[in-house]
């Protein structure tokens, strides 16, 4: 599966928008882009998934350009409780072995 690259850490302040970009240059036609969130001392939680263009839900938006070689997770108006590690995954529909790298540690300050 395609390797992903994302920043190790990002700092933000309450009320700001946070955008995390993930690179996946070798993404294949059958691959989806999936993001998980993990709070300290908790298991990961599925946030959002997309194939192309834009996907939005109550938690985040996911922007995927036409070439699909990167994607951007957008967290609108973050609060302190959004401090977490965010993982970008490239997955296929029949994948069940999730594999997380180091993720992006997002720290939101007051």
């Amino acid at each position: 599966l395609a390797k992903t690259t994302q920043p190790i850490s990002m700092d933000s302040y309450e009320g700001q928008e946070v955008n995390i970009t993930c690179s996946h240059n070798n993404i294949a036609t059958n691959d989806y882009i999936t993001w998980y969130q993990q709070f300290p001392s908790q298991g990961p939680r599925f946030i959002i998934q997309g194939y192309k263009t834009k996907v939005t839900n109550e938690v985040a938006s996911l922007f995927i350009p036409a070439d699909r070689k990167s994607s951007t997770l957008s967290l609108p108006r973050v609060s302190l409780s959004d401090t977490a590690v965010y993982y970008c995954l490239v997955t296929r529909s029949n994948d069940y072995k999730l594999s997380f790298g180091a993720g992006t540690t997002v720290t939101v300050r007051a």
Binding site: G43, R45, D95, Y96
Partner: protein, 117 residues
């Protein structure tokens, strides 16, 4: 509760002892997964259950590790003769089907932090 639960939340044991970790998946979820997460190591797949069968045990690191699932529900991960390198957070997840509403959406429990002294 509505989520995946795991017990104990923390386990400290001595090298050489056996430990059992328990997972209660979301009711009705047929698929169950065990992972472990170590600092700096990311998430490591251990085993996958579909019902009570384990079609994929490829991630179990050694024969000291075993898992079972009964009644299509509760699962137990057993580590025999624990070693210090077994120290990690052991996470259990479940899903309704292999490719449910969202592909690859697995619901994780809070994990069991295992420390082997």
């Amino acid at each position: 509760g509505a989520g995946v639960s795991q017990s104990p939340s923390n386990k400290v044991t001595e090298k050489g002892k056996d430990v059992e970790l328990r997972c209660d998946p979301i009711s009705g979820h047929t698929a169950l997964y065990w992972y472990r997460q170590s600092l700096g190591q990311g998430l490591e797949f251990l085993i996958y259950f579909q019902g009570n069968s384990a079609p994929d045990k490829s991630g179990l690191p050694s024969d000291r590790f075993s898992a079972e699932r009964t009644g299509g529900s509760v699962s137990t991960l057993t580590i025999q003769r624990t070693q210090q390198e077994d120290s990690a957070v052991y996470l259990c997840a479940s899903s309704s089907t292999m490719d449910g509403g969202n592909y690859n959406e697995q619901f994780f429990g809070p994990g069991t932090r295992l420390t082997v002294l």
